[in-house]
């Protein structure tokens, strides 16, 4: 049965104001059933207040083999972090 049903990625918002986070994946025949399955599989211990599902085939990702050219060039560019400013004392939580 699972061979016939597509795979879906599930994203859960754990409480109002927070982002949806990837929770896992599951099989379902369509979007409505995927949401209900997600409710039953991933929110049975009060994990969430909102669910997104997206069919896994619509998620596009970077290739791990490209990691060196994509991410490593950022390693030695510390000037991109805004850490060279002198902040006034009154400013907190920056």
């Amino acid at each position: 049965m699972n061979q016939q049903e597509p795979l879906w990625e599930v994203f859960i918002r754990s409480k109002q104001g927070l982002d949806h986070k990837h929770a896992g994946s599951l099989h379902a025949a369509d979007a409505q059933m995927a949401i209900e399955n997600a409710r039953d599989v991933y929110t049975r211990r009060m994990e969430g207040v909102s669910i997104w599902v997206v069919e896994s085939k619509y998620i596009h990702s970077t290739n791990p083999d490209d990691a060196a050219s994509l991410y490593e060039p950022a390693n030695d560019k510390i000037y991109r972090h805004p850490t060279f400013y002198n902040l006034p004392e009154e400013l907190k939580h920056m």
Binding site: M1, E5, A28, E36, V41
Partner: protein, 252 residues
């Protein structure tokens, strides 16, 4: 009056317990992991509802009775559940349709019960209604998908309809303990929810491309609410009550 209320509580509790126990038989055997979890969740919801009603029944009784003695130490003749809750699960189509019929019934029943003049029954109904609303939604979705699915799933749903329809009449056939509580607005007058039930069932069956025209003269099975059960209940109780019967008061 007290005795009628006690019996009515048992009826409501037994419905949920026996249905919940039946559904729990799918745990580990669901057609796929997601549905295995979904139906186990529903089974647990129902068993939780039954606990609330049993606790209230035990409080009414006022002696040594507890929720556990009511669930584990009564015999089949004393159970007041609808027959539809005790019949075997059959295949997935039968289980889903049975749950759909039952959840629709509970949905309309609890909507009325939550304005009962009995505050405790009203509170339990209000809490349970949230769960039942989901059970109804979930089972409706499955009825539609299987009815309007493949030739095989459609055929199985039609067969399930034939098998289960005779168990729906009992829902709207009031017993004496219900009738005696109606005038005090404690119990729900089940004849008042029959039309809502039929309308909802017809709408979903239509969406599922399943036949709705059932023979009005079909013989309706009844008796469960008064303690007259099919042979199936005895087997459920044998399994469910074995531990308490063999090792009274055991704890672990």
């Amino acid at each position: 009056m007290e005795n009628n209320l006690f019996n009515y509580c048992l009826h409501l509790a037994d419905n949920s317990l026996i249905m919940g126990h039946r559904l729990s038989e799918w745990t580990g055997h669901g057609p796929m992991l997601e549905q295995d979890i979904a139906i186990s969740n529903i089974a647990l919801d129902l068993i939780g509802q039954s606990r609330n009603f049993y606790q209230y029944a035990a409080a009414i009784k006022g002696d040594e009775t507890t929720e556990d003695t009511l669930a584990y130490l009564r015999d089949a003749r004393e159970f007041k559940n609808l027959l539809i809750t005790e019949i075997p699960n059959g295949d997935w189509a039968q289980t889903i349709l049975k749950l759909f019929f039952f959840s629709t019934y509970q949905f309309y029943l609890y909507q009325k019960l939550k304005v009962s003049s009995d505050a405790q029954l009203a509170a339990i109904a209000e809490k349970s209604l949230k769960e039942v609303t989901y059970h109804l939604r979930w089972s409706s979705e499955w009825v539609v998908r299987m009815g309007d699915g493949t030739e095989e799933s459609h055929h199985r749903m039609e067969m399930a309809l034939e098998d289960l329809w005779p168990y729906t009449g009992e829902m709207f056939d009031a017993t004496s303990y219900e009738n005696l509580l109606i005038k005090n607005r404690i119990s729900v007058d089940v004849s008042e929810i029959e039309n809502d039930w039929k309308t909802k069932i017809a709408a979903i069956l239509c969406e599922a491309t399943l036949s709705n025209a059932r023979d009005e003269n079909v013989w309706m099975q009844k008796g469960g609410k008064s303690g007259f059960h099919s042979e199936h209940l005895g087997y459920i109780l044998a399994e469910m009550q074995f531990l308490q019967r063999a090792y009274p008061d055991c704890e672990w």
